[in-house]
């Protein structure tokens, strides 16, 4: 998708070299993420103020010619190979002077956010984030349906899953189907709440009441 902000000319070569160094790579993952991440980076920067865009571009040029300044050699960042770039950027990322480190941190944050939110990266790492969202949407739909006609317990009581769903199974994939099946099997109307661990005012006996908090009690086992 074309974006309004785009790296151009030599700046693009530097940006690409930096992204190529910073994107995740695994021996069992064939896709080169450089170009898709570069495109996502441009999209991200497009939403950011001009001042940030300028800072990012200026910083890239700074890194491009920083070799002699840091004593890393004369070659420009975009002209050296990826392993050498990695060594240089890593050394700057651990520089004793915080401002230099923070520069790398900015790029690293942007690249990591763009890369690790890609569906193929999530899938490779087994995060199944997109499927999980769908699964959760389905579960909540069933929970809300089960609520229909029932009076919600007063805050702060948990709404609960009305006795139909084992808490152990709540956080599992497919909980919506299990909940629907269980609800159909029992055909019990939804009680106000089956959160039996709660006091009558809805607070958990084992924890602090949700009233305006007093100073904490004297510490028990001290930490280090």
């Amino acid at each position: 998708m074309p974006t309004a902000f785009a790296f151009t000319g030599h700046t693009r070569r530097i940006a690409r070299a930096l992204v190529e160094t910073m994107v995740p790579r695994w021996p069992d993952f064939d896709t080169d993420l450089t170009d898709p991440v570069l495109e996502r980076l441009e999209r991200t920067l497009d939403a950011q103020p001009k001042a940030v865009q300028t800072l990012v571009v200026a910083g890239l040029w700074g890194l491009e010619v920083s070799g002699p300044v840091f004593g890393h050699g004369l070659g420009r960042l975009s002209a050296i190979d990826r392993d050498e770039r990695d060594r240089r950027l890593t050394r700057i990322a651990h520089h004793p002077f915080p401002t230099f480190r923070q520069g790398i941190l900015l790029y690293q944050t942007l690249v990591n956010l763009c890369a690790y939110s890609m569906p193929e990266v999530e899938a490779h790492l087994g995060a199944r984030r997109r499927e999980w969202r769908k699964d959760r949407q389905a579960l909540r739909e069933v929970l809300v349906q089960l609520d229909e006609g029932a009076k919600a317990p007063q805050t702060p009581a948990a709404l609960g899953s009305y006795g139909h769903l084992d808490p152990q199974a709540f956080i599992e994939f497919g909980a919506a189907e299990r909940l629907r099946d269980a609800a159909n099997a029992t055909q019990t109307p939804a009680p106000a709440s089956t959160d039996t661990a709660l006091d009558s005012d809805g607070t958990e006996p084992s924890v602090e009441k949700p009233k305006t908090r007093k100073r904490a009690a004297t510490p028990r086992r001290k930490g280090p």
Binding site: P98, T155, I171, R221
Partner: protein
């Protein structure tokens, strides 16, 4: 003029003659403070318009594409940082619902010790625990501040609880503004299931029910003043294709753009009270992130945060788990490329949490020549000692829960493998400059104070020497509170709006 899903959410035409509106009260911002104030004023029978700079993005629009969501609902695409000894990145929502759309949903009342200070030292009798009680109740009922459904917490929360329980440390169970949070772990980019009860689904419908409206894409730039009185606002319609302007005239103006935007708007309009307090007293309740590697899966699924450890609250240290999606987890480590890729293979085994410090430093929001904003804050050495101590506590908790390694926010001490390492980390006393902070709790830049020489707002929320101008957001908070602030902000906004409503009605009657 076009309407979004409800006719009370108005997306103005972006071209054409200046849009002119009249009302009793115009509220700037639709987040925690603005939406609460707008609904309360509308329920008092006043004609209310709420102006919001961002767009309207309902649940169906929250996609899994993180960069896209960040661009859509966060100010400056999330690229915001406070300058100081160490820059502190922060996030602000910029959409209908403001930061309540992107927040973690934790709901805490203002601690009583804080309210006592406000009453005794800030001369704010109206903010006593007793007088705020009905406001807290109304807020909690409205936003559904509840415990999680049993089982929705997930293992990231469970590991934290296990560590605290084994140490005998006191936990407080979070209430969150949610209806059936199902632990999708997407809070920061907008809840995709509709569970989180941002102001979009709580206070704003109450505003609409009384005929009030939210105008989206309306960035307020001018505060209109006549004869020393504030009589409305003006600005531009933004992010749409066009250059249209708007003017809203009103009997009172309530600013609720947040603790950074509100003082900037005031200062750009030359509104600086005699005491010079606008923009000062900025506290940020800073936090640092930590992570811990376990032998078994702990991450990915569950609620953002179900517990807080309040054992060390008296030291100003709060610890909490904080489940975050994979992409945010990847930025918790100071690394990139194949090394990080290798570590992220373990992502399911990495628990994430953080430490919040009840800060003492006071930063400042300023406007430099040409209207350039400058947001400054320095973490003090005293607060840094608490961060180090807090990191030691949290590492102890994670080791007790069975963690193999703990990752810290300290540059020269990134990884701890044993209690001995904790001792070494403490002895090394990492510097502020070598620590990575973050904040989402910005407060106090237009603070309320019973003494006009020490604050910018009177006890009923009016700017001291500017009749007709009120502030009802995080900026109005008298000081730091040491807990998540949305409930406090809403309770204060309600207190301010009820007073203003009474005042306008009695004036009309007179």
């Amino acid at each position: 003029m076009t309407a979004a899903a409800t006719p009370n959410i108005v997306v103005p035409e972006s071209r054409g003659a200046t849009l002119r509106l009249d009302c009793d009260v115009v509220v700037v911002g639709s987040g925690a403070g603005g939406a609460t104030a707008a609904a309360t004023l509308a329920e008092a029978g006043l004609d209310v318009i709420c102006l919001e700079e961002g767009g309207y993005h309902p649940t169906a629009e929250y996609s899994a594409d993180i960069p896209q969501m960040i661009a859509k609902i966060l100010r400056n695409g999330g690229a915001t940082a406070i300058m100081g000894r160490s820059p502190v990145p922060y996030l602000e929502g910029r959409c209908v619902g403001g930061s309540t759309v992107v927040n973690g949903g934790m709901c805490w009342r203002t601690p009583e010790r804080v309210l006592d200070t406000w009453v005794n030292e800030y001369r704010l009798e109206a903010l006593s625990a007793r007088r705020l009680e009905p406001h807290f109740e109304e807020v909690e009922r409205t936003i559904n501040a509840r415990y999680q459904d049993p089982g929705s917490e997930g293992p990231n929360n469970d590991m934290f609880k296990r560590g605290a329980d084994r140490l005998g440390w006191k936990l407080s169970k979070n209430r969150r503004n949610q209806i059936h949070c199902v632990g999708s772990n997407d809070c920061v980019t907008g809840c995709p299931t509709g569970a989180k009860q941002s102001t979009i689904s709580t206070w704003l419908p109450r505003l609409y029910a009384r005929g009030g409206a939210v105008y989206t894409h309306c960035r307020v730039e001018k505060i209109l003043q006549e004869g020393g009185r504030v009589v409305g606002v003006a600005g531009r319609i933004v992010d749409l294709d066009g250059e249209r302007r708007f003017v809203v005239r009103s009997r009172a103006v309530v600013l609720a753009g947040g603790a950074v935007q509100t003082p900037i708007l005031m200062l750009r309009n030359g509104i600086q009270v005699k005491s010079g307090q606008v923009g000062r007293n900025f506290t940020i309740h800073p936090n640092v992130k930590m992570a811990a590697l376990f032998d078994h899966p702990v991450a990915v699924r569950g609620a953002h945060q179900a517990w807080q450890c309040i054992e060390f609250e008296h030291e100003g240290i709060l610890m909490a788990p904080g489940l975050i999606p994979l992409a945010f987890q990847s930025v918790a480590f100071n690394d990139f490329g194949p090394r990080l890729a290798q570590r992220m293979r373990d992502h399911e085994h990495i628990a994430t949490g953080g430490i919040l410090v009840d800060d003492h430093a006071s930063g400042r929001v300023q406007v430099l020549p040409f209207g350039i904003p400058l947001v400054r804050y320095d973490v003090t050495d005293e607060d840094q000692r608490r961060f180090i101590q807090g990191a030691a506590y949290l590492a102890t908790l994670y080791f007790e829960a069975g963690a193999r390694e703990v990752y810290t926010p300290f540059h020269h001490f990134p990884r701890l493998r044993s209690p001995d390492d904790i001792r070494r980390m403490k002895a090394a006393a990492p510097r502020v400059q070598d620590t990575e902070y973050f904040t989402a709790h910005l407060m106090g830049t237009v603070r309320m104070h019973g003494d006009a020489r020490q604050g910018a707002l009177s006890p009923d929320g009016q700017v001291w020497d500017r009749p007709g101008l009120y502030v009802a957001d995080a900026a109005a908070m008298p000081g730091t509170i040491g807990v998540n602030p949305q409930v406090t902000i809403m309770a204060l906004a309600r207190h301010i709006a009820l007073h203003l409503g009474d005042r306008l009605k009695s004036r009309a009657a007179a």
